[in-house]
């Protein structure tokens, strides 16, 4: 991709120090009126890394995202983004530092067109003010054209050209997920949080999304955190995986290590079974003759 978006993004990513983690999540505790959502979770995300967080429902995966993006404020611990502490900052301030995310349940502006949704992703790169907007000449007009160019490159990248002028509320679910990814990319993020990008998708849509995620990592070099229930996808794509269970981090490591980790197997399959994630207990037991 030799285009306006890729160039602008590379310029932004050049500011990211390669010798230090993009995100440091240190001993974070979050509870809601006595219910502990996160009980001292620690991990770090390195530059250009695809970091995955998995775990059963209610394990605290989305809570981690909400802490990072500033929606929740934890009671204890610290979070540093690009070396700077971000706890206590407003969500839009954190976004301005270069963090963007997608949501588990699509949070697009459904009355606006695909173009306008993506243009909103560029909001923090907009420099002109009210008075320039009132006359819509000079600076405002020039900037709008530049941002539109960047947005069109993202539309090309995600292959949603034919929908660009549709209100997103009318688009099919899989396309809406893609538009939301596009809106997150439009921020030129230094760290991208993907909350269940393939939830509810069929095989074809899942493979398309996997292709986009790989392209984002390999061609655009954006560090990503992926929360996902689709184990096949996570184990295929992720560089490292964090397993959450009941608000606690029970393991961190490469996908192959995670699949062998007894704690992980217990969390997913229960006490009785000893098996690898992704392969059913019975299938493996039959293959090895190993009975629990």
């Amino acid at each position: 991709m030799s285009d306006a978006f890729a160039e602008a993004l590379q310029e932004t990513l050049a500011e990211v120090a390669q010798d230090r983690p993009v995100l440091e999540f240190d001993d974070v505790e979050l509870s809601f009126a006595g219910v502990k959502a996160l009980g001292g979770v620690t991990f770090e995300v390195r530059p250009k890394e695809l970091f995955a967080i998995i775990g059963p429902n209610g394990a605290g995966k989305t809570s981690i995202f909400n802490v990072i993006s500033g929606v929740y404020r934890p009671q204890k611990g610290s979070v540093r983004f690009l070396g700077e502490p971000i706890l206590g900052k407003q969500p839009h301030e954190i976004a301005a530092m270069g963090l963007s995310r997608t949501f588990q349940n699509i949070e697009l502006f459904e009355n606006l067109t695909v173009i306008d949704n993506l243009m909103l992703g560029r909001h923090q790169h907009v420099r002109y003010g009210v008075f320039s907007a009132l006359v819509y000449a000079g600076r405002a007009r020039g900037e709008e054209v530049v941002h539109r160019g960047v947005v069109e490159d993202i539309i090309d990248f995600l292959e949603i050209e034919q929908y660009r002028k549709f209100p997103v509320g009318l688009l099919p679910y899989g396309i809406q997920k893609r538009v939301e990814l596009g809106r997150a990319l439009a921020l030129e993020p230094k760290l991208l949080l993907l909350d269940e990008p393939v939830a509810g998708m069929n095989l074809e849509e899942t493979e398309d999304m996997a292709r986009f995620i790989l392209d984002i990592r390999d061609e655009l070099d954006i560090a990503m955190i992926l929360v996902e229930h689709d184990m096949g996808l996570v184990m295929d794509l992720a560089d490292r995986v964090l397993v959450q269970d009941f608000g606690l981090a029970i393991a961190t490591g490469a996908p192959s290590e995670i699949q062998r980790n007894p704690d992980v197997i217990r969390a997913y399959l229960g006490e009785e079974h000893r098996s690898s994630v992704g392969v059913t207990a019975t299938a493996r037991d039959r293959a090895t003759g190993d009975t629990p």
Binding site: Q90, H92, A140, L187
Partner: protein, 381 residues
């Protein structure tokens, strides 16, 4: 760069082919739109010579109401913050204009300034008040915000009633702002470029030009990053924050811009009418503006104008009804089952309910449906 309007070979026979993003996002980006706007403006220019002075006065009022409706639509339609306090801001604008332009030797305070001073000032005073209200909007939303802004109307009513040296007092009032521009009086008949114009013809032209300016500015706000941010705040406020749109800033901005429009509209309204009655900035006035926005079309500028013209013309239309329906009386004491004023109140209610149920997009929505029907004609899809 010629902005995509090049008549290159790629465009031949394809007038809708855009060759630049600028042309694609232009205000009048299709030929029918350009032709229609040209026709409407041409019609508006010759209308004063075709209609009676009476009707012109109503049209001038409708144009001013359109400016106010655009303002309310920016905050309620685009930014999604329900405001019942529009009458308060209209009142602030009206009295600011009246004080700055009024007769220095009159019964009420007056400074004798010209249009170029008092008109922006009316907008700015109202905008400043809007900015002060904004913190409430940041903490509240929906019905709660509506109630708080409703409180403003009562606050305003009290202030306007008590500050007699400015407002003249209930039942008496004071003269409206004087439209004087470098010695030229819009409120007196006179010769312009060799043509003899009446007061109402001059007023009509002044208000039409001002509406044109304010409407284009409104559209520009709506299609810029600011308008998009308003829509983001309206549709999903948490997502807006997370993608980098500061909620507080844009809610405050929406109230400020809306109040600016209201201030301008308030000052101009009483320039047209001539006398400000301090009791008129009440809940009914706020509801009228809400009705304009709902009936015209939420989150559209052209819809605001359609709604304002419709609501302003409504009393004129109902006054004709007794001629056709003998059981409706023309005056308050004419007998019959209903009189025209009751009919008017009933129509307000019915129209708001009817539009909300059958065409939530308002008159603008009806226009879109008609347009789409004829676009596809003779096919139904």
């Amino acid at each position: 760069m010629t902005g995509g309007r090049t008549a290159g070979s790629a465009r031949r026979g394809r007038p809708e082919l855009y060759t630049s993003y600028e042309a694609d996002s232009a205000l009048l980006n299709t030929r029918p739109k350009r032709v229609a706007v040209l026709l409407i403006v041409a019609l508006a220019v010759i209308v004063p010579f075709l209609l009676t002075d009476n009707v012109l006065l109503i049209l001038a009022t409708a144009f001013v109401a359109s400016i106010g409706a655009i303002g309310l639509n920016l905050v309620t339609g685009y930014a999604g913050q329900v405001s019942l306090g529009h009458a308060f801001f209209l009142g602030l604008g009206a009295f600011t204009g009246a004080v700055l332009s009024g007769d220095p030797d009159g019964r009420t305070v007056g400074l004798g300034m010209q249009l170029l001073v008092w008109l922006p000032a009316a907008g700015l005073v109202a905008a400043a008040a809007g900015l002060l209200v904004a913190p409430f909007a940041v903490r509240l939303r929906g019905l709660y915000l509506a109630i708080v802004t409703l409180g403003l109307v009562f606050l305003g009513e009290h202030l306007f009633r008590e500050m007699q040296f400015i407002t003249g007092g209930v039942g008496v009032g004071r003269p409206g702002p004087v439209p004087e521009l470098f010695g030229f009086r819009f409120d007196q008949a006179g010769e312009v470029l060799g043509v003899m114009l009446t007061r109402n013809q001059k007023m009509y032209y002044l208000m039409f030009v001002l509406l044109l300016i304010m409407a284009v500015a409104g559209r520009n706000i709506a299609r810029s990053a600011i308008g998009r941010a308003f829509a983001a705040v309206r549709d999903r406020d948490i997502a807006a924050e997370v993608i980098g749109v500061p909620l507080t800033k844009y809610k405050a901005l929406a109230f400020t811009i809306s109040s600016f429009y209201a201030g301008i509209a308030g000052a101009l309204l009483y320039t047209v009418i001539g006398v400000i009655e301090p009791g008129s900035f009440n809940l009914l006035m706020s509801v009228q503006y809400i009705a304009m926005v709902l009936i015209g079309g939420v989150a559209t500028i052209s819809g605001s104008i359609m709604g304002a013209v419709f609501i302003t013309l409504l009393p004129r239309i109902t006054r004709e009804v007794p001629k056709f329906l003998p059981f409706i009386s023309g005056g308050a004491t004419g007998g019959g089952i209903l009189n025209v004023f009751q009919l008017e109140a009933i129509l307000y209610g019915l129209l708001i309910i009817g539009f909300l149920i059958f065409e939530p997009r308002g008159l603008y929505g009806i226009w879109i449906r008609t347009r789409n029907y004829w676009k596809g004609w003779p096919f139904s899809y």
